[in-house]
């Protein structure tokens, strides 16, 4: 618990650093005629319904016992409902909401891993998720082998990984540890390698869930610098958080999710203020 808290604050720092380094684009009023950048993510009437069993039945024995007793009851609820969202290229969108508001579910729909119950999600460009870095590693594989394996999961080609292999190793700062099985890595080393692999491409859409704590303070600086560079290049960012400070530091737009619905959307400053109000009203 304590460790988690420390992690959070460190990551906040890192993200704030990243935010400071980002030059805020000069505001030009009355420039509405300017052609808007293309939409890269379009979400229409999205709805996701979950069935919740009062007790999870995940084996055959239980299933038949309940089938005979006629106790296969499900409770249904909508984790997301009537979500409409248009995100343009270069937008950095913060998704705010309390626990269970549907933030991660929305991200999963956009990442294409969760099929919505209704509505559509259209995404143009490749998505790189920076979620739980290193979760996809095989622990018996060495770091070098995992670069190929994890890279292939993200949809890279063999030639591409081969070409960028040295760059990944160098950025991860693993040195000779790259030939050691990942099960002997520290969590920081795993995260460093995961970050290096995921960010070796120039993604069009970047997904960040909550905090990004990668390695020690120095590596954090390095990684936030890399993210900032990406943002400058015009990558679209989706950033999930329940802290308005983080969103304010990193995003130019924001939405608030509450019980599966979008309750507000617009400029980050305005939305963050509204979110703070919402929280203090609830307490």
């Amino acid at each position: 618990m304590e460790e988690e808290l420390i992690k959070t604050t460190q990551a906040e720092e890192a993200l704030q650093n990243a935010g400071q380094e980002t030059p805020t684009p000069p505001k030009k009023k009355k420039k509405k005629k300017k052609k808007l950048p293309p939409k890269v993510i379009v979400v229409e009437n999205l709805g996701v319904r979950f069935r919740i069993q009062e007790q999870k039945v995940d084996n055959l024995k239980e299933y038949f016992v309940r089938l005979i007793k006629r106790r296969l009851n499900f409770k249904e609820f909508w984790a997301l409902k009537d979500i409409n969202l248009k995100i343009r290229k270069g937008d950095r969108v913060g998704i705010l909401g309390l626990n269970g508001a549907g933030k991660s579910t929305l991200l999963k729909c956009i990442a294409g891993v969760l099929k919505p119950t209704e509505g559509t999600v259209t995404v143009k460009g490749n998505i790189v998720p920076l979620l739980e870095l290193g979760a996809g590693f095989d622990k018996d594989y060495t770091g070098a082998e995992n670069i190929y394996f994890y890279g292939s999961m993200l949809g890279y080609s063999r030639a591409f990984i081969k070409e960028r292999f040295d760059e990944i190793v160098e950025f991860s700062e693993l040195g000779s540890f790259i030939n050691v099985p990942v099960k002997n890595y520290s969590s920081g080393m795993k995260a460093r390698l995961g970050f290096s692999i995921a960010t070796v491409v120039d993604p069009e859409i970047l997904i960040l869930d909550e905090v990004l704590s990668v390695g020690d303070a120095r590596f954090k600086k390095k990684s936030s610098k890399k993210l900032t560079k990406m943002m400058k290049k015009g990558v679209t960012v989706l950033f999930v958080s329940h802290s308005s400070d983080q969103v304010l530091a990193n995003c130019n737009k924001a939405i608030i999710l509450d019980h599966g619905r979008i309750v507000a959307s617009g400029k980050a400053e305005k939305i963050c203020a509204q979110y703070e109000e919402m929280i203090s009203a609830n307490v």
């Binding site: 979950f50 995940d58 084996n59 055959l60 024995k61 299933y63 999963k108 990442a111 294409g112 891993v113 969760l114 099929k115 998720p129 979620l131 739980e132 979760a135 996809g136 095989d138 018996d140 594989y141 082998e145 190929y148 394996f149 292939s152 999961m153 993200l154 949809g155 890279y156 080609s157 063999r158």
Partner: protein, 261 residues
Amino acid sequence: MKEFINNLKKFRFLFWELVKKDIKLKYRSSVLGVFWTLLEPLLTMIVLTLVFSNLLGKGDDNFPVYILCGRLLYGYFSNATKVALKSVRKHGSMIGKVYVPKYMYPLSAVVSNYIMFVISLVVLVGVMIFEKVKVTWYIFQAAIPMLLILVMTMGVGLLLATFDVFYRDLEYLWTVALMLIMYTCAIFYKVDNIKSAANEWIFKVNPLYSLIVMFRDAVFGRNIMTQDSYHLWYSLCFSFIIFGLGILVFWRKQDKFILYV
């Protein structure tokens, strides 16, 4: 459909990475390495020959080669389905994060075991030479059961992987089922020695037995086409039906995996 092909192209590399990983890691921490693939069936063959040759081995065919044929095919089926069964749940953490065509997991498990199975055929060739088994051109017909067993295992693997996501105790049930399949495959006995009208149906319903019969026919230089055609037709139909069924069930259920893994 076009999307399917594009996806296949994009993730072709992942498929081979998964296959490679299975093979590489299986023997990584063992001293003998891939040599185990050869040693294991050889040792089983020796033990079974010693124990059963006088009791159940009477007949024309060379008994060690007879055992090895059955043992290799059954071994492949059993290993591949066991790994495929767990494959989707094993990669559960990635399924929730990155989009990857999910059929890659069970199919790569089946293919990697198939490669090891083909390697292990070296043992069969070695024993055949040692026992001076007469080989004819019909040995090339062994390709028929070898192809069918791949199709069948893919189908069964897809089905098992799907149901394992929803029912975790399937793993134990399947171990029992595999044991039953093994005993009805006539690996270490000759059917003619024990067959009666009452138990004949057991051998007729087991498609793996049909494949083993055909494989043995080819190995011992008999023409599959002139033998009992029941085995060919039954295993052919069964393999493709179970393959189709596997694809259908997997396709229908794959969007729900993420809710259960």
